[in-house]
């Protein structure tokens, strides 16, 4: 058993092969300016990691996510705004890179349908309650 565990431990080594390169300067290093770093974190939480796809680049440990975090921090330091950086990435990867749902030509029903359902429920409730009240009023007569 121990031998097997030991063997398995060595088997996993090639997985780390692509991480022998040092990470990009800003991949794991926070910015010195806390306000700028807060902006970077907020932006990174809304950007999708392209290799893991179900994580934001702030959450992912994939090398590509580290390289994307470097781009975000380096561009903020260079004076770009979070909106500009987000737009720069969207120009390359499309809406897919956004990890924050946004209202657009294809996604508006996602936002509109719940509101419409709530409106219908409110309408039905109002009519029913209104009817009961008028029934009660006419019963009292």
């Amino acid at each position: 058993m121990r031998v097997l565990v030991l063997l398995l431990a060595f088997l996993s080594v090639p997985v780390f092969a692509q991480q022998t390169m040092p990470p990009a300067p800003y991949a794991y290093t926070q910015l010195d300016d806390p306000a700028l770093e807060a902006e970077a974190t907020a932006l990174m939480e809304t950007l999708r990691c392209l290799t893991c796809q179900s994580q934001s680049i702030a959450d992912s440990d994939a090398p590509m996510a580290g390289d994307m975090r470097h781009q975000v921090r380096a561009r903020l330091v260079a004076g770009e705004s979070p909106t500009e950086i987000r737009a720069w990435l969207t120009r390359r990867y499309g809406d897919y890179v956004s990890y924050q749902p946004e209202v657009s030509a294809t996604t508006w029903p996602l936002f509109a349908i719940p509101l419409a359902l709530l409106a219908i429920v409110a309408l039905v409730l109002l009519r029913r309650l209104g009817k009961r009240r008028s029934d009660a009023a006419s019963g009292a007569d």
Partner: protein
């Protein structure tokens, strides 16, 4: 009629369970197409990835014939499968410029010695700069770049024998 109403929730559940089961068997397309196709290749200049082969920059794509830009890495397994197909393309007279992603010079040299070198130039993209600039989300990816330096076509994943005619046709189309 009343009995049927009692079955309705179960039927609804069976429908959704069936739908979920069916979707699990369907292939999900994981590829993220680059929005940079039909856009100019962004400006870049990358140092050589290993000794003896020059690095790559945007100006290497301008003038002459359309070229292939191949994003690869020595640590990438599909790139090994792709290597003979790239050599076949080079033998067709296509210039292929490589971009080695997050790669050590000695590993690049080792890969080329083992699987052949179809490249005229290889730039070292150590922090995925160019990858992100051109909207690539993985390795390998191959782009057709026309002689004006515009991105004309993107192939995601390894090049197989049946991809070669597609790439040759796209290279031909990139001449106009």
């Amino acid at each position: 009629m009343n009995r049927l109403i009692y079955i309705a929730p179960l039927a609804l559940f069976a429908f959704f369970a069936g739908l979920a089961g069916y979707m699990l068997t369907q292939d999900k397309d994981q590829a993220i197409p680059s929005q940079m196709v039909e856009q100019p290749l962004p400006d870049f200049a990358l140092p050589p990835a290993t000794d003896g082969i020059p690095g790559a920059s945007r100006k290497d794509f301008v003038g002459g014939e359309p070229r292939l830009l191949n994003i690869w890495a020595s640590w990438c397994l599909p790139c090994i499968a792709e290597a003979p197909q790239l050599e076949a393309l080079r033998d067709e007279g296509v210039e292929i410029i490589g971009i080695a992603v997050r790669d050590e010079p000695e590993n690049v040299a080792d890969f080329l010695a083992r699987y052949g070198n179809p490249y005229t130039r290889i730039g070292a993209d150590n922090i995925s700069e160019l990858m992100i600039e051109i909207g690539a989300s993985g390795v390998p990816e191959t782009y057709v770049i026309d002689a004006d330096g515009n991105i004309r076509y993107q192939h995601i994943g390894d090049i197989r024998a049946d991809t070669i005619p597609v790439l040759l046709e796209q290279l031909e189309r990139a001449r106009s």
